[in-house]
Amino acid sequence: MIEFLSKKLDWIDVNYWFYILNDLSLIYIILPFFVLELIRYAYLKKLNKDLILDSIANIITFGGFYVIEIILGLLAITKVYFWIYNNFSLPHLELNWITIICCILLADFAYYWEHRMMHRIGIGWATHTVHHSSPHFNMSVAYRFGPLDAIMPIIFSLPIVMLGFDPILVLLSEVFVQVFQTLLHTEIIGKFIKPVEFIFNTPSHHRVHHGSNRQYWDKNYAGILIIWDRMLGTFEPEVEKVRYGISEPIHSNNPIKVFLHGISRFLKKLKKVNGFKNKLLVFIKAPDWMPTHDQGTSTNK
C-alpha cells in the first residue's frame, strides 16, 4: 500500500485525474444536480421569478469573478508562485499519491483559514458578502462570487508552495477543494451518517455556514473536512431551520448590484470613518467594527 502511494507519478496522469475531478464535474454532477434542484423547487411550488433571476445573477457574478481570477491566477502562478518555489521553498517534493493527498489536505486547511479571514476582516467580508447575500441555497449560489474573492486564496496558498509543493499541484488542489465545496450548496441532502458528518463538511454543515440565524454566524468555515472547525472552535451543528442571506439584504437580482454591493458598502463605511489609522483598521478589523462605539465581535451577517 505504502509502496503504491509513494510510487512516482507522471504529471500527465495527475492532470488527467484532476481534469476528471475538477473540470468535468460541472457536466457530470453539478449541472444534473442543479436541474434536480429546479425540479424539486417546481414540485414544492417554490420555483418563481425571484429564484430564476437570483440564479442568473449568481452565474453572471461568476463571470466577473472568473475574469479577475484568471488574470490574478495567471500572474500569481507564473510569476510569484514559481519565484517563491524556486527561491524560498523547502526541498521540492516529488509527485506521488501521498504528496498529492497531503497537498489537498493543506489546501483544505488553507481554505479554512482564508475563508475564516474572509468573514473576520473588513476587506474580506466586503467581497465575500456577495456569496452570502442570496436568500436561496442551491448549486448556483456556489458560483456567486465577489470581485476580490480570488485574492485571499492566493495569499494563503503561498505557504504551501514554500513547503515544497509544486505550484501547479497547489492550484489543482485548491480547485478540487472549491469543487467539493460547490457540491455542498444544496437543500436536497439532509444529513449523512454520523461518522461522515463528524469528519467531512456536508450540505448540513454548510447550510449552517450560510445561515443568518444568530447562532450560525461565523461557523463552519471548512472546505472538505469539518474537523478543522471542530479543532479550531468554529463548529456548529444544524439544529434550528436555517434562514439564508445576510442581516442587511440587498433586495435585488441586478448582477452588477449583487457583485459590487459589498465593496460599495465598504467604501461608504470607509468614508464615514474619520482618521487615517481608523480607515486602515476598517480593512483589517471585524466587519462590524467601528472606531468609537457599536463594536461587535461577529460578522454582520
Partner: protein, 174 residues
C-alpha cells in the same frame, strides 16, 4: 478559543501533514544518492553515456515539445568550475537527452566537450518536465531527479534537490 491555541494547533496540523509529505518524498528519493562513483558510471554506461554518432531511433515529431531541441548554454560559478557549458539537447525515441557540447572558461576560451550524456528528460509537456541529471559532487558523479520549468521558449530552469545538495540552473538557448 485563545489565539495561542489557534496558532499552536494550526502549526501542528501544518507540520504533521507537510512532514508526512517530506518523509515520503525523502524515503523514495534517498536511494538515488546511494550510488558509488563506479555504480553511477556503470549505470550511465548502461544508458549510453556517450553520444551515439549514428542514432538509429525513429522519433515522432511534436512541435509543442520539440522546440527544446538545440544548443543550450549554462553558466557555472562554483569552486570546481567557473565558466559555461554548452549542451546539445536531442530527441531520441520518447525522451530528450542533453549531451555536453562545448566548455567555455571565464575568459571565453572554448574547448569541444566529449559529448557525455548529462541529462535525460523523461517527460516534457512543453512547459514542465522531469528527468535525471548527472551532477558531480566531491569528484563523484550522481544521477539525481530533476525538474524542468520553461520560463520562455529560450530559457528554462533546471532544478534538483537532494536534501542538502540542490541547485537551480538557468539554461539559455545558444
Amino acid at each position: 478559543m485563545k489565539k495561542t491555541t489557534l496558532v499552536f494547533r494550526s502549526l501542528a496540523v501544518i507540520i504533521f501533514i507537510a512532514g508526512i509529505a517530506h518523509l515520503t518524498s525523502f524515503a523514495s528519493q534517498k536511494d538515488d544518492l546511494n550510488y558509488s562513483y563506479e555504480d553511477s558510471i556503470d549505470l550511465n554506461q548502461k544508458q549510453n553515456l556517450y553520444q551515439d554518432e549514428n542514432p538509429k531511433k525513429i522519433t515522432k515529431s511534436n512541435p509543442e515539445t520539440d522546440y527544446i531541441v538545440g544548443k543550450w548554454k549554462v553558466s557555472y560559478n562554483s569552486d570546481n568550475f567557473k565558466g559555461a557549458v554548452v549542451y546539445s539537447i536531442k530527441k531520441e525515441g520518447k525522451v530528450f537527452n542533453a549531451y555536453t557540447h562545448q566548455y567555455q572558461d571565464e575568459k571565453g576560451n572554448q574547448k569541444k566537450a566529449e559529448g557525455a550524456k548529462t541529462l535525460i528528460i523523461k517527460s516534457f509537456d512543453g512547459y514542465k518536465g522531469k528527468g535525471r541529471y548527472t551532477v558531480e559532487y566531491e569528484d563523484q558523479q550522481y544521477q539525481v531527479n530533476c525538474q524542468i520549468d520553461m520560463v520562455d521558449e529560450n530559457t528554462f530552469k533546471l532544478s534538483y534537490d537532494h536534501y542538502g545538495y540542490g541547485d537551480v540552473e538557468t539554461w539559455k538557448r545558444q
